[in-house]
């Protein structure tokens, strides 16, 4: 997902009886569906875990601008250009809300940015794949935003108030993003032979990377168990992946496109699709920095940051001059 492989305390979930009174009250509040707010007491592990998760999500929005930004100057009509630009702008906005949510936990946006640029903090693996044709703008909206929504809709009920509220706004926009992606796919799939070919090619390349977005199976993971107890993770990776496949397979059929998985089949009894696992070795390679575009993505972010330094410094210097002139006048 936009936040993948987030580690928690690693110590397993404590029972209520093992907790000190403060922590017990905290956990009971979460269990009862209450929200934790920035000034409330919280365990250090909860705070750190949330910073990692929200930070990674924010970084994903920021880096996620790049693969789609890659097509803004080549968008085929004025309307498509405007829609794509608006979508990428929304992503910058999501990054902003999420950095603000993370800041309520005692970390600054600049700290998080430094950790992204140095490679210490990650962003979603999906954004390390290239966008090669216009149909990829459709596939990203349909599959990538579709997968993100699976995770983000339940996160609107997450225990941390600022995160849950940011997610409410984000989800509204994400569903528009997914629809515009599907709309591009419809045009492409039902268009000329070349367009149909682009659509199929985009699905071929984005299918397994989209399944990887949910992360490897975490049914046995102590990190996931703790995050779920804290309600900062609402479902297991496998549950969400299944839901995604169940939703997407009929859509692909409707488009007249073939999901690149010969084993994909509807199980009439369960009502769920069976499907092939993605290549997890590739997933771990991407996380390690060996995806097709990891180097370009980080280079692009670093370049923007380095070349923007004089602008940030200039505007700060001006604001300080203005302040001191105002004070001198008073």
């Amino acid at each position: 997902m936009y936040a993948q492989m987030i580690k928690s305390t690693g110590q397993g979930v404590k029972s209520l009886d093992e907790m000190e009174p403060e922590e017990r009250a905290f956990q009971e509040r979460i269990d009862a569906g209450g929200k934790i707010e920035p000034k409330d007491w919280m365990p250090e592990g909860y705070r750190k875990n949330l910073i990692r998760q929200i930070g990674q999500h924010a970084h994903s929005e920021i880096v996620g601008q790049l693969p789609e930004g890659n097509w803004i100057t080549r968008a085929p009509t004025l309307e498509r250009k405007a829609i794509l630009l608006a979508k990428v702008q929304d992503e910058a906005g999501h990054g902003l809300y999420l950095y603000c949510a993370a800041e309520t936990l005692g970390v600054t946006r600049d700290d998080l940015t430094r950790d992204l640029l140095s490679g210490k903090m990650k962003y979603s693996s999906i954004f390390n794949y290239p966008t090669l044709t216009w149909a990829d703008m459709g596939a990203v909206g349909w599959l990538v935003d579709g997968a993100a929504i699976m995770n983000q809709v339940p996160l609107q009920r997450t225990s941390y108030g600022p995160y849950a509220r940011a997610m409410v706004r984000i989800c509204k926009e994400e569903s528009f993003h997914q629809r515009q992606g599907f709309d591009i796919m419809m045009k492409m799939a039902n268009g000329t032979e070349a367009q149909h070919k682009m659509a199929q090619d985009a699905l071929n390349r984005f299918w397994f990377p989209s399944l990887m977005m949910f992360g490897p199976s975490d049914a046995e993971s102590v990190h996931s168990a703790q995050s779920m107890a804290w309600k900062i993770k609402m479902n297991t990776n496998d549950e969400l992946r299944q839901k995604f496949v169940d939703q997407t397979a009929p859509q692909a059929a409707y488009l007249g496109l073939t999901i690149p998985d010969d084993t994909l089949k509807l199980n009439e009894e369960t009502g769920h699709y069976t499907f092939a696992e993605p290549d997890w070795e590739e997933f771990f390679d991407v996380l390690k920095g060996n995806g097709p575009c990891n180097t370009e993505r980080l280079e692009a972010r670093n370049k923007a940051w380095d070349e923007g330094r004089w602008v940030r410094e200039g505007l700060i210097a001006h604001a300080e001059k203005k302040r001191s002139r105002k004070m001198a006048a008073e």
Binding site: T192, A304, W310, R312
Partner: protein, 251 residues
């Protein structure tokens, strides 16, 4: 009358199209997140204005073309934008200086067009002027902030205004198309906007501690389409590539 009007509408539309495209090139790589968002806003407004101006141009022309045909299927010599807006982005300072120099003229132009004898033009101008008021406010503030910032930001902004100034004069030149528009009360005399523009630029540059270049030499040939810069062709190569590679497709 329809040909000069078509030309005139293409001038308005192409300015918005070309500058909107240039600004959209910043997507995802601005100096700070808030600037990414603000630049996207400006680009979106300009693309929206393009749809209105070129849409009306196509209607006036009456040959069955639409705004997309005009944007994606004309070559360099048919473009009617000012040379200023096709200038490459350069650094963020040059992008914002170009924006300011254009916005100052653009707002005055739109305000004058709000009194146009052509109701459709007046309506587009009114809608656009609201957006451009914000563009000018923001580009002025940024020029002032960076001009009056650090030594480096000051130096870069001075170099930006020096570099772009030769493209300012074209905005105030007139030709037969302008004469025709004036005669029908459709559009203002371009020269009539100069005094207000000079005052605005003088005020903003003073607040930015920047010097107005002394030489008012003006390159021309953009709005007439006679001689664009080499940059426009490269921009169109990228912008029009999909439409031209797959002419039988709809998107």
């Amino acid at each position: 009358m329809s040909q000069p009007l078509f030309e005139y509408l293409c001038r308005m539309g192409d300015n918005a199209l070309v500058l909107g495209h240039r600004v959209s090139e910043w997507c995802g790589v601005a100096p700070v997140l808030e600037e990414d968002i603000a630049l996207a806003n400006v680009a979106l407004d300009l693309i929206g204005q393009t749809q209105l101006w070129l849409g009306l141009a196509a209607e006036v022309e009456g040959k069955g073309r639409d705004a997309d045909n005009l944007a994606f299927h004309r070559d360099v010599w048919d473009f009617r934008n000012l040379l200023l807006v096709e200038q490459p982005n350069g650094d963020f300072g040059r992008t914002m200086m170009r924006q300011f120099l254009f916005d100052g003229w653009h707002l005055a132009q739109l305000q004058a067009l709000m009194d146009s004898s052509n109701d459709q033009i007046a309506a587009i101008a009114e809608k656009s002027a609201k957006e451009v008021t914000y563009h000018l406010e923001r580009s002025s503030d940024t020029v002032i902030g960076l001009g009056d910032g650090t030594e480096e930001s000051h130096r870069r902004m001075q170099s930006a205004v020096d570099r772009l100034w030769p493209y300012v004069g074209e905005m105030f030149l007139s030709d037969d198309v302008d004469q025709e528009m004036m005669a029908h009360g459709i559009a203002p005399d371009p020269a009539s906007l100069r005094a207000g523009y000079d005052t605005l630029v003088a005020d903003v540059l003073a607040a930015a501690t920047l010097k107005r270049p002394e030489d008012d030499f003006a390159h021309k040939g953009g709005k007439t389409g006679v001689r664009h810069t080499e940059h426009l062709g490269h921009m169109l190569t990228q912008m029009q590539w999909l439409q031209r590679s797959y002419p039988d497709a709809t998107w």
